[in-house]
């Protein structure tokens, strides 16, 4: 059997004495797109942060393997270099840090960590231009400080552009559809679909079925109260859309 890109085994995590993840199990083979759907507050973003290595959480049990390698002891930057990318639900604005400076630092840091040579400035510019064009990101946006003054849609497009540039083996997209109008949703989905290459895997977290019409998943998981409670094919998303999350128990958000 080929090594899964992501394997989560019985993952428990807490924040400030409160258990949020209560035994998550998930396997994503290479090239597959899995969706996680669940009501607000069920712990979806927590899962994405724990995968990316945010410090605030205490992992009390379980394992996370990325391409067969346990990543829970790694720093966030090491996880990124190992192939993980998280598209944030709420991308952070960083005044004073130029977008281009940031992109170059990120790309070269990852290359360095993997023992690859740094990109030359012309090669870097070309890569950014290419990634940006697909997502309607113009020079003007790239000249601004990182995410500062970007609209909600611009932020999401910028996240996907970063993903296109960094070429992760696993992309976790946390509510990338939220706050997008239908045009923006199409641009973003097109950008995401262009990165499906039969090898790269994705975990698409969403609240609404709508996104999954554009990014069609191989597997849909229902997330409730800190764990996956049901899995199925893409039709499960339609069922959820029709019936809501009520039948899965847990408190209403």
């Amino acid at each position: 059997m080929t090594t899964p890109v992501l394997e989560i085994r019985n993952l428990h995590a807490r924040i400030e004495e409160r258990e949020i993840l209560k035994g998550v199990n998930l396997i994503i083979p290479p090239g597959e797109v899995h969706a996680i759907m669940g009501r607000n507050g069920s712990g979806k973003s927590t899962l994405s942060y724990v995968l990316a290595g945010k410090e605030d959480y205490e992992i009390t049990e379980g394992e996370v393997l990325l391409n067969g390698e346990n990543i829970l002891e790694m720093e966030p930057d090491e996880r990124a270099a190992a192939g993980l990318f998280l598209a944030f639900q709420y991308p952070i604005e960083i005044p004073g840090v130029a977008t281009m400076t940031f992109l170059k630092a990120a790309l070269n840091a990852q290359r360095k960590a993997r023992g690859e040579a740094e990109l030359s400035t012309p090669d870097f510019m070309r890569a950014v231009k290419e990634a940006g064009a697909q997502l309607n990101i113009d020079n003007d946006m790239l000249k601004r400080p990182l995410n500062v003054g970007f609209s909600g849609g611009e932020k999401k497009r910028a996240e996907i552009m970063q993903m296109a540039l960094l070429k992760p083996s696993l992309a976790v997209l946390d509510e990338t559809d939220s706050g997008l109008d239908i045009d923006a949703l199409q641009v973003v989905s097109k950008g995401v679909n262009a990165l499906r290459d039969g090898q790269r895997s994705m975990l698409v977290i969403t609240h609404y079925q709508r996104l999954l019409n554009h990014i069609v998943p191989d597997v849909v998981h229902v997330f409730s109260d800190g764990r996956i409670v049901e899995s199925g094919d893409k039709d499960l998303a339609l069922k959820l859309e029709a019936q809501g999350y009520a039948s899965y128990g847990g408190e209403a958000a």
């Binding site: 945010k54 720093e75 966030p76 990124a80 005044p95 840090v97 940031f102 990120a106 840091a109």
Partner: protein, 403 residues
């Protein structure tokens, strides 16, 4: 309340009094004999208690002839030097720049001990008259070389109407426990545009004092930037006088302090006439057990209507033991003005750090990016690329030492 018994003088004060008397500055000597160096009880020295912080005053400097390389290399700059208080010969000045000498004592008298001492001890002043716009950066190196010395020096600059110029002063020298007391008087003519940057790069053992006084005529535009990145004890005074309608000043500064250091920027801006504006923006970055202070006083004269001024101090603490202190003061005698002040203080933002790291950027590099980002507002307006680059290297090497 004034004590009715004489203050006890320490060795620093004794030495200072002797030096002042030898220079014939009896009234300044007398003041210090009566009151001593200012303590925390003197309001403007509340956070910088000179009596406690200044333990010794070394002997008055002997003249030095220094030809060492500039402390900060700014490619293409026109360089001048004052070493141990003495003005050194300079290369041929760019067109429109007249370099000369005058007697010391360039500052307007005010009730401040450091100003008094400079006036009493600075023997000569370097004078610069800029008759028209000057392209190259003018760099004035002020050095204290050799054995520990007490140095008072002075610079007086006149910028003609409609001219523009960028003047950078750097303070450096040998590693000994010098006390430097530096004065700069800068007069900005009508509609002239001037950038004035003073950078302390002296050794840790040094006590660095500087007073920058400015006079702005109608429509003058001034940008100032004070950087404290060297001395163990540093205090820079920024004293602009907004004396012409339409004058505007961006008054900025940066304290970079680490373990054991104490840096103080004290600004007092006088809006003397109607329709002037100032934007004081100061930042302090503190690492280890160290102290950064910014005092900002806005004085608006009685008929200085339509004054627009807002003082801001932002602190970034890189350690828990760091102390960042702000003292804003408003003294407003006009009624139709917009004046304000604010200050913020915080640590590196964890969410920002996580975001950068999640993209593969290692922690220390991410921190450096965030610190640079914090300072960007101060450096971005410096258009001269070589100069901007040189300023970045100061911050980068400061950060490097801490890693």
């Amino acid at each position: 309340m004034r004590a009715n018994f004489p203050v006890r003088l320490g060795p620093a004060e004794d030495a200072l009094i002797a030096q002042l008397k030898a220079a014939g500055a009896d009234s300044t000597a007398e003041r210090i004999t009566v009151a001593g160096l200012p303590t925390r009880r003197v309001e403007s020295y509340h956070y910088t208690d000179l009596k406690t912080l200044l333990r010794a005053i070394p002997p008055v400097a002997n003249a030095a002839n220094e030809a060492s390389a500039p402390a900060l290399r700014i490619p293409g700059a026109f360089n001048l030097m004052i070493a141990n208080g003495a003005i050194q010969n300079a290369a041929t000045a760019p067109a429109g720049v007249i370099v000369g000498k005058a007697d010391g004592g360039v500052l307007t008298t005010r009730d401040d001990v450091l100003v008094h001492i400079n006036g009493a001890l600075a023997k000569e002043a370097l004078t610069l008259t800029l008759e028209n716009s000057v392209d190259p950066v003018i760099q004035v190196e002020r050095r204290i070389e050799g054995e520990a010395a007490h140095v008072a020096d002075a610079l007086k600059v006149f910028v003609a109407d409609d001219a523009s110029a960028t003047i950078v002063e750097t303070f450096s020298g040998s590693d000994a426990a010098h006390v430097g007391n530096h004065a700069t008087y800068l007069s900005v003519g009508r509609n002239a545009v001037v950038t004035h940057i003073t950078i302390d790069l002296s050794a840790r053992a040094v006590s660095h004092f500087a007073t920058n006084e400015y006079q702005l005529a109608d429509g003058a535009r001034l940008r100032t930037l004070v950087i404290h990145a060297g001395a163990g004890l540093a205090r820079t005074h920024v004293f602009p006088r907004m004396a012409g309608a339409g004058a505007h000043a961006d008054l900025t500064g940066l304290n970079l302090v680490a373990d054991g250091q104490h840096a103080d920027i004290t600004m007092e801006t006088l809006h003397a006439v109607p329709h002037t504006s100032s934007q004081p923006l100061f930042k302090s970055i503190v690492r280890g057990r160290a102290k950064a202070i910014v005092q900002g006083k806005l004085v608006v004269a009685r008929d200085a209507q339509k004054t627009d001024a807002k003082f801001m101090h932002q602190g970034l603490m890189l350690s828990d033991e760091a102390e960042i202190l702000s003292k804003p003061e408003l003294e407003i005698y006009a009624d139709d003005v917009v004046c304000g002040h604010g200050s913020t203080c915080g640590m590196i933002d964890e969410d920002s750090l996580f975001y950068l790291m999640s993209r593969g950027i290692p922690k220390s590099e991410a921190e450096t990016m965030l610190v640079r980002g914090f300072i960007a507002e101060l450096f971005d307006p410096i258009d001269d690329e070589e100069l901007n680059e040189a300023l970045q290297t100061i911050v980068d090497s400061w950060l490097m030492v801490g890693k």
